[in-house]
């Protein structure tokens, strides 16, 4: 197993090199003039277009420009993003924690409800509970998350006024950026606890509710399905019959015996699901005005802010690759039947 992990770790830089090159090459489909125009803020500067192209070497070959970009990226410089009005590296540092916070809360919901509903469906196989849960999972899987997000907002924000979009309220904004509030991790839920500020803590949680529920929708279905089929498989095994014959209560059989073994595929699946959420955050953050890396990426894409688009896509790809690797390692760790040679 160690050999497999080492091999994957060695492949990681190569895959990242390929992915960043692909993304960089894509931005080169725009003509040098259009790329140079991004550096120009005032129409009166148009005359210096050629100068900009010369200065930044926008006419060089793709490889030359890419190696220059890569060299800067290693130094932690990803260029300047006019959309965020700051260097891309700073923007990533500022926006990424919000996305991670959202993804972690979502994942906790997905795992909890996925396991619970999966077990419920398996225990009641072919009864109405099972059909209802399966209908629920295929519906949540089919509902477009931008529609779900807007409907939730319309109802819980527009009609009831319970949850507002954004990451925190105006009052919290003043507290967070005021004196006496230390920024430890960038994760607002954790920072507020470390600062012993419960107002900000509950405010941050409240703003996470709707985005997290929306983001859940696409991930529930697979979780429920895997838990259900894995649970059904375990429930049919001999040790479960033995436990029942011993006179154990059905709940003990379900949760202590079968449940413990059935949960293994779910653990590995959650690694993959966590990574998949990254794509969904793009839309959810846009709907809820949640200042994460996804909405930063969308803003950059809409403004054709090339440095921003590149920085965003590379960071997301990096997280994606790391997450997939972690999921694979989890997989071999928990399922000894699988061996990579």
């Amino acid at each position: 197993m160690l050999k497999f992990i080492l091999r994957r770790l060695m492949l990681l830089p190569l895959v990242m090199l390929g992915a960043t090159f692909l993304l960089f090459a894509l931005t080169q489909t725009l003509s040098p003039v259009r790329r140079a125009a991004l550096y120009i803020e005032d129409p009166r500067q148009m005359g210096s277009l050629d100068e900009v192209i010369q200065k930044y070497g926008l006419n060089d070959s793709v490889f030359k420009q890419y190696s220059r970009w890569l060299g800067n990226a290693f130094k932690g410089e990803l260029g300047y993003s006019p959309t965020a009005n700051m260097p891309v590296a700073d923007a990533v540092k500022q926006y990424l924690p919000a996305t991670i916070e959202l993804a972690v809360v979502t994942m906790a919901l997905v795992i909890f409800f996925g396991i619970w509903l999966g077990v419920l469906a398996a225990v009641n196989k072919s009864r109405w509970q099972d059909y209802l849960i399966r209908l629920f999972s295929v519906s949540t899987f089919s509902i477009p998350i931008f529609v779900l997000g807007l409907v939730l907002l319309m109802f819980f924000y527009g009609k009831l006024g319970w949850f507002a979009p954004g990451r925190y309220s105006f009052t919290s904004d003043i507290i967070i950026h005021g004196p006496g509030f230390t920024n430890y991790t960038g994760l607002l839920v954790i920072d507020s606890l470390l600062n012993l500020n419960f107002y900000v803590f509950f405010d941050a949680l409240r703003h996470l509710v709707l985005p997290a529920i929306t983001l859940c929708a696409g991930s529930f279905a697979l979780m429920i399905r895997v838990m259900r089929s894995s649970m059904l498989e375990e429930l049919g095994k001999d040790y479960v019959r033995a436990a029942r014959a011993k006179g154990l209560k059905e709940s003990a059989v379900t949760f202590k015996h079968a449940g413990k073994n059935a949960i293994i595929p779910v653990i590995t699946l959650s690694g993959i699901q966590f990574v998949r959420l990254l794509g969904g955050t793009v839309i959810v953050e846009t709907i809820f005005n949640f200042p994460g890396i996804g909405s930063f990426g969308v803003n950059c894409a809409q403004q054709l802010d090339i440095a921003g688009i590149l920085g965003f896509a590379c960071v997301v790809a990096f997280l994606f690759v790391l997450g997939n690797l972690a999921a694979d390692i989890l997989y071999t760790f928990f399922d000894p039947r699988i061996r990579y040679e």
Binding site: V15, P144, F146, M154, I283, A301
Partner: protein, 289 residues
């Protein structure tokens, strides 16, 4: 299609529901010009009933009401069905062709060609599909053609992998050996014996992806990176209603129709394909029977 598979679909309630939904949308898409005669030079351009900004609820003139800038929702939803099929089928077709060519080349050639082609698919898999599609669509500009290109670019690698795997397993079968013994040439064996026997599963899988592809396409349009403004496209209709989630002071849900109608159409479309796909997967899975 196999007769028994079809019989099984008719017996499963959820598969039947899925099939009904898909056939319904297909019928709407096929009959679009009859249901809603085109009013512009470009039929996908939705007509506007005035210059008022706020959406108007369903009424006698616009049976589904209008959305922002008085775009007629009924017209947009009906032509949106045609658009969904247009985008879904084009993407599946182009991605399959690319997948067959690249996956087939990799499996047929083997060695370093295979290695390089498969590493390229690895690289594309290293970027979340939605993000890569977003980047490509943003760089090419908001146009239907570009949206199809972006979605094709992110979809073909999975088909290429699937087809490569199928070809490699078919290659081992006895009838291929028999053809070789018979003296058939390499390309002939590949085109006449291996390929026809290995691409059908992929074609079925790919065609069931239409729901997912239309969902991604609508997401792009929702973000303003898909179709140009005013196009009959469900994702864009939902995007237009985004500014109107708050309603009026008296009635907070005054503009709900602008989200629920196009959103509902998209939901039912995707649901139909997913129900059908799930059922077909269960039926084709040998472990289930």
């Amino acid at each position: 299609m196999n007769k028994t598979i079809f019989a099984k679909i008719l017996r499963s309630r959820s598969a039947l529901a899925g099939l009904t939904l898909v056939i319904f949308f297909a019928a709407v898409a096929a009959l679009t010009p009859v249901i809603c005669p085109p009013q512009n030079y470009n039929p996908y351009q939705v007509p506007q009933a005035g210059y008022n900004v706020a959406p108007v609820p369903p009424n006698a003139q616009n049976i589904f009401g209008t959305t922002e800038s008085q775009y007629d929702i009924f017209y947009a939803v009906v032509w949106g069905a045609r658009m969904a099929f247009k985008v879904g089928i084009s993407v599946v077709f182009f991605a399959l062709v690319l997948g067959i060519i690249i996956g087939g080349t990799a499996a047929y050639a083997g060695g370093w060609v295979d290695e390089i082609l498969m590493r390229i698919t690895d690289i594309i898999f290293a970027i979340p599909g939605m993000v890569l599609a977003m980047v490509i669509a943003a760089l090419l500009g908001p146009e239907i053609k570009n949206m199809i290109i972006a979605l094709t670019a992110v979809s073909w690698p999975s088909y290429a992998r699937l087809i490569r795997g199928d070809i490699l397993s078919v290659k081992q079968r006895d009838f291929v050996a028999a053809a070789r013994v018979y003296g058939a040439s390499g390309p002939r064996i590949f085109l006449k014996h291996i390929l026809p026997n290995s691409i059908y599963p992929s074609i079925i899988v790919a065609s069931l992806d239409i729901g997912y592809i239309v969902l991604t396409a609508s997401s792009l349009s929702f973000l303003g990176l898909g179709s140009p403004p005013g196009t009959a496209d469900w994702g864009q209709l939902v995007a237009m209603s985004r500014n109107w989630i708050l309603g009026t002071a008296q009635n907070p849900l005054a503009y709900a129709h602008a989200i629920l109608i196009p959103g509902g159409a998209l939901f039912l479309f995707v649901l139909g394909w997913n129900l059908l796909g799930d059922a077909l997967r269960d039926i084709l899975d040998p472990r289930q029977s």
